[in-house]
């Protein structure tokens, strides 16, 4: 007890001393090219999000890293819930995780805090052919603060049996055809045509991209909500139409309950989700595996698929990490053509270089995702001010629920605008 007390009292004294040793005492700084074993005994900690690191890829990268550097690689899987706060506090610590996976829409905000290391050199070295649209989110004020890792967009995951039972052959190529198919399943009455909760907000974001709408606009030197734009309203009307085919709760997102689990019961025609969600469904009900199919979310015309939100992740190095060089070694390995390709193949994720896209054909989910990503992909506004808008409770989700419950898009937009503007103007 006494020792604990002393330790606790010691806290007071350390308050002053620790703060002094900020982020610039990197033990192994310098640009010496490291051979094997020069990092022996060190451990590099990488925070990866849940679902980002498929098992084979993880195993192979870990082995390759160990072989090349002699150091140990430790992946720590993080949950999305509360991740922003977790990263913020972690970056402020004296021993932060060395490498962090950061969502592309959140990257500008972290770059602005000064907590991420400048990777401009690395970009010159290994990133000259990173796909430009995908790299955009990682650049802030002209500097490279992260490396694009992978991208993903939603596809329609459908149950072949349900579709066949409703007498549908083939998959829809236009939005109109898609609705006709859903009508057929509905008429059959055996299954829910599509499972779409009211707050699948990234699907909605895709629809706004498809309509060519922006969620924010600039007013003077400030960003403000653009939800009252008729184009956003048009996207919301589309969402409402899709949602009318579903019995899913209007005020929940796709994770409560996990939509793949609902789909796994075999009584749902389709859902809009990430390719890997099929795996979740198969885990819940292995029998569903042979029924699962994928197709690109169809757009207005067969020529151009529906707009999709290009979700993606960047890998960033913590400015406070004392293993800057080792962290870069990791990035060189993980982002090499070999492992980027392997990741695409295993998870159906879109790689950071267009030259690697051929890996997707091996993965049906990836094959369905790729067409939209190229021509119809977009993101949320890539400005540091954006990240707070997505904090829970996300006002855009409130907007969606309000419209689905009968408010007009204009009314609903008006109701949440103040909150969105408040968040956009939040001081840094």
């Amino acid at each position: 007890m006494k020792r604990k007390l002393i330790a606790a009292i010691g806290v007071a004294g350390m308050l002053v001393s620790i703060a002094a040793c900020g982020s610039d005492d990197k033990s192994d700084s310098g640009s010496k090219k490291a051979g094997a074993d020069s990092y022996k005994g060190q451990t590099l900690t990488v925070w990866a999000m849940d679902g980002s690191t498929p098992p084979n890829w993880t195993k192979d990268v870990t082995a390759a890293f160990q072989k090349k550097t002699g150091a140990t690689l430790k992946f720590e899987t993080q949950k999305w819930d509360g991740i922003q706060q977790k990263i913020t506090t972690a970056l402020s610590e004296s021993t932060p995780p060395d490498v962090i996976e950061v969502g592309n829409t959140q990257t500008p905000a972290y770059a602005a805090t000064g907590g991420l290391a400048d990777l401009s050199d690395l970009k010159k070295e290994i990133g000259t052919d990173w796909a430009e649209p995908l790299n955009k989110s990682a650049v802030f004020e002209g500097k490279q603060f992260a490396a694009p890792w992978y991208f993903a967009n939603r596809v329609v995951i459908y149950n072949k049996k349900v579709w066949a039972d409703a007498g549908i052959t083939g998959t829809p190529k236009t939005r109109a055809e898609f609705f006709t198919d859903l009508d057929k399943i509905k008429a059959k009455g055996k299954a829910e045509p599509i499972y779409l909760p009211g707050q699948n907000w990234y699907f909605f974001d895709g629809l706004t991209i498809g309509q060519g709408a922006d969620l924010v606009k600039k007013e003077g030197d400030k960003y403000v909500s653009n939800l009252s734009d008729p184009k956003v309203a048009a996207a919301m009307e589309l969402y409402k139409k899709y949602q009318s085919y579903s019995k899913a709760p209007k005020d929940k997102d796709e994770a409560t309950p996990q939509q793949a689990d609902v789909f796994a019961k075999g009584k749902t025609g389709a859902f809009v989700g990430m390719g890997w969600e099929a795996g979740t469904a198969i885990k819940a009900n292995p029998a569903i595996e042979k029924e699962i199919g994928y197709f690109t979310i169809p757009g207005e015309t067969a020529a151009k698929p529906e707009g999709v939100f290009l979700g993606g992740s960047n890998l960033a190095v913590a400015a406070g990490s004392k293993k800057q060089d080792l962290a870069k070694e990791f990035l060189r390995i993980a982002l090499s053509d070999q492992f980027e390709g392997a990741l695409s193949k295993e998870s159906g994720l879109i790689p950071n270089k267009t030259s690697l896209n051929s890996n997707l054909t091996a993965n049906p989910a990836g094959a369905a995702a790729a067409p939209a990503a190229g021509v119809s992909g977009g993101t949320t506004p890539l400005i540091p001010e954006w990240a707070p808008v997505e904090n829970n409770p996300n006002p855009i989700k409130s907007y969606m629920t309000a419209v689905l419950n009968g408010k007009t898009p204009a009314e609903a937009a008006k109701a949440v605008e103040a909150e969105i503007n408040k968040r956009l103007s939040q001081k840094n």
């Binding site: 007390l5 606790a8 009292i9 007071a12 703060a19 900020g22 922003q84 706060q85 913020t88 506090t89 970056l91 402020s92 905000a109 972290y110 602005a112 805090t113 000064g114 907590g115 019995k247 899913a248 709760p249 209007k250 005020d251 929940k252 309950p257 609902v262 707070p388 904090n391 829970n392 409770p393 409130s398 629920t401 309000a402 419950n405 109701a415 968040r423 939040q426 001081k427 840094n428």
Partner: protein, 331 residues
């Protein structure tokens, strides 16, 4: 420490009573005999408690108070910057209409839950006293289950019970003929969300009140009831003239605790609907958390948390006064 105590007592060399008199201020001749070491004994006994409270509660409170005068966002936190901004956080909070709505809501929420908990608790407690041994044990068991259920487990189960699509409650209501409830969304409106949270809180709080109240009634001397019935008191009369006065201090103390616990409810509101829909079920602790930690506006969160403490102290001021006054009269 114990050595000193002993010495103090020996020096007194008299029953405890004398010592107590001796310690009393203005004790006349006794004061002259007051032993210095003896006088410090209570302080020594209290020292550990006061010390740990000061270090692990007082210090964070002071820190929190300091943060409330700072502009503290992710940038400042990460780079360890201190940016004082005076009363900006407070003035922004106090000027926002949201804050006052949340205060009002917190007060009503607390009042409703405390009243319901106390009423249900008292009734069930009295019922326990009336039941036969076996039934009492059964009901006690049910109460103890609810009481002992860890909060997080409980909130999960409630979410699950009231789920829109696969929840048991909707199924039962539908089966009972209330078909509009088949797909009812309990989290869709402010009122229904509060209803669930209230049910959860009352469910978890009633056992404490009921079981203790029952136990308290068992300590009421039989003679008091007999005397009352000799005076011709009926059931209700003997309740108001014997049971209630006897239980009054207990009820006051329990109400005080319930006000604190319920006002501070955080996990229940936050886990069940995240303070939604549209932030309409945020009470002060949730509001402080969402603004501070959720929106990473840490200085603002600290300001709100301070205001939260002030509101709570104001709410319980009545009891604190009574408790302190009683304290004076005792001993």
């Amino acid at each position: 420490m114990s050595v000193q105590t002993e010495r103090a007592d020996r020096a007194g060399s008299a029953p405890a009573d004398t010592i107590r008199k001796g310690d009393a201020p203005r004790g006349g001749p006794a004061a002259a005999r007051k032993n210095r070491a003896g006088a410090s004994v209570p302080y020594l006994l209290l020292l550990p408690a006061l010390l740990v409270t000061a270090v692990f509660l007082g210090w964070p409170l002071v820190k929190d108070g300091m943060l409330s005068f700072q502009n503290l966002n992710p940038r400042q936190l990460i780079l360890h910057l201190t940016e004082w901004n005076g009363f900006d956080n407070y003035s922004e909070v106090l000027k926002s209409s949201d804050f006052w709505k949340v205060v009002e809501r917190s007060v009503f929420f607390t009042a409703a839950n405390v009243v319901l908990t106390m009423l249900a608790g008292i009734l069930i407690g009295l019922l326990l006293a009336r039941l036969g041994k076996k039934m009492r044990l059964l009901l006690m068991l049910g109460l103890v289950f609810a009481w002992a259920m860890p909060m997080i487990a409980a909130t999960t189960v409630y979410q699950w019970l009231f789920a829109q699509r696969f929840g048991v409650v909707n199924y039962v209501l539908d089966t009972l003929g209330w078909h509009s409830m088949a797909d009812y969304n309990w989290l869709g409106t402010q009122f229904s969300t509060f209803s669930i949270v209230t049910l959860l809180i009352v469910w978890q709080s009633v056992p404490f009140v009921a079981i203790n109240l029952y136990a308290a009634t068992t300590t009421i001397p039989r003679e008091m009831y007999e005397a009352a019935s000799l005076d011709g008191a009926g059931g209700w009369k003997s309740f108001t003239s014997v049971t209630f006065p006897f239980l009054k201090p207990f009820l006051l103390a329990t109400t005080f605790l319930q006000v604190i616990w319920i006002f501070k409810s955080f996990a229940q509101l936050f886990a069940i609907n995240g303070g939604g829909p549209d932030r309409l079920t945020e009470t002060l602790p949730v509001y402080a958390f969402v603004e501070g930690v959720g929106n990473q506006h840490f200085g603002m969160g600290a300001a709100i948390s301070f205001l939260t403490i002030i509101v709570l102290v104001a709410l319980t001021g009545y009891y604190l006064r009574i408790a302190l006054k009683n304290e004076e009269d005792e001993l």
